[in-house]
């Protein structure tokens, strides 16, 4: 008989891995965290996610679930009795949360990544403008979804908070964004306050990397080879 054990295969620095960890914390589900070594993929990872060979993977009672946002929904549905729902109650509000989570992964995050690859002032400016455009949309989305409450999901952290909030450690490392403050009190006041609330939440704090540690790690992995 398969045990009910929960395992998460991941890495401490990955925002995508943070997603299922926050979800499990919110539902008070104990789990074993299996850290992948940077640059190598374990047998278990390759066996559990043969399609993408990527982290995170959740293993519950020996069954793997892959894709971070899909894992978050799985956690919400499986342990529905163990904490507030991570998605809103009406079908429309749920659809809006899913829409913005998809936008974050398909449009916003790729533009964020390209900040690191951008070369020269012109390209950097253009890419930053794209990210800021996305942030403005998300600022409005926050105001619409939260309806005056603390989080995108209302009173409690939910699916969309997790989908976006997982990037905050990276965003706060301003050195990583070439000295630009991406979540800004002036341009995105609601998101700025939300970011503080999110990062200080007890379900998030234990899994959010320290900015300094992350900066060191980023230097290592994005180190340009000597000219």
């Amino acid at each position: 008989m398969a045990s009910d054990e929960v395992k998460v295969i991941g890495a401490w620095a990955s925002p995508f891995v943070m997603r299922p960890r926050i979800a499990l914390n919110l539902k008070s589900v104990p789990y074993e965290f299996l850290q992948e070594t940077f640059g190598a993929k374990s047998e278990l990872l390759l066996k559990s996610n043969p399609v993408h060979k990527k982290i995170p993977v959740l293993i519950h009672a020996d069954k793997p679930v892959c894709e971070s946002n899909i894992i978050v929904e799985y956690v919400d549905e499986t342990w529905s009795a163990s904490g507030p729902s991570m998605l809103p109650s009406t079908p429309y509000d749920r659809a809006i949360a899913r829409f913005w989570a998809a936008y974050i992964d398909e449009k916003w995050f790729p533009s964020l990544k390209s900040i690191l690859k951008a070369e020269g002032e012109e390209e950097k400016k253009a890419v930053l403008a794209q990210v800021e455009e996305g942030n403005a949309l998300l600022e409005k989305a926050f105001n619409d979804c939260s309806k005056g409450k603390a989080f995108f999901n209302g009173e409690h952290i939910g699916y969309l908070d997790i989908a976006f909030g997982c990037f905050l450690a990276w965003l706060r490392g301003t050195a990583l964004a070439g000295g630009h403050k991406l979540i800004d009190e002036v341009k995105t006041p609601s998101l700025s306050k939300w970011a503080d609330r999110f990062c200080n939440d007890p379900a998030v704090k234990p899994v959010m990397p320290e900015t300094a540690t992350l900066a060191e790690f980023a230097k290592k992995i994005f180190a340009k080879p000597p000219a």
Partner: protein, 224 residues
Amino acid sequence: MAKKEERVKLLGFWISPFSRRVEMALKLKGVPYEYLEEELPKKSPLLLELNPVHKKVPVLVHNDKILSESHVILEYIDQTWSNNPILPQDPYERATARFWAKFVDEQILPAGFMPLVKPEKGIEVAIEETRELIMFLEKEVTGKDFFGGKTIGFLDMVAGTMIPFCLARAWECMGIDMISEDKFPGLDRWIKKLNEVEIVRECIPPKEKHIERMNKIIERSKSS
């Protein structure tokens, strides 16, 4: 003016698998809707107004609610009208259906079109790479009538609109027998079963017209 009635409109495009799958879901649930055809690639002012973020079809308008992104719309339809469920009940099966649906749109589509139109590594390599991806779906459907079990569900709608009734027509134009019966007996059987479902047949672009249009798309893509 304030008549209490359900008004459902769908902005779509006849060859878009994304918009066709929404039609399938609405028909499965027996929801009457008004269909508005976008004359793509020209985008109507209505489309730009209703979907300013992505400017794409499908867009579903349900009374005063506007929704876009086909997977999001399918889940909305499933939760709003509870008859004939589209997603499975069990959380693990739901996660599995969602995973494969994402895989179809994000992996099979990119591999199954442009690399075949412009084969940088050679056409045989491109075909093999596409087949490798499709083999994952073969394993999922083997032993079942549909991905959803005895009746069509979420993954059948996503994979069905994308593969046999969209990509396969492109493959036919290119003279490629991608999903051959000997290599993919499960999927071959699934496609035959899909063709027996009336709702599916109603949501397939008419073949001749589709092939004609697909040839033009392929030509345009070659020169892009």
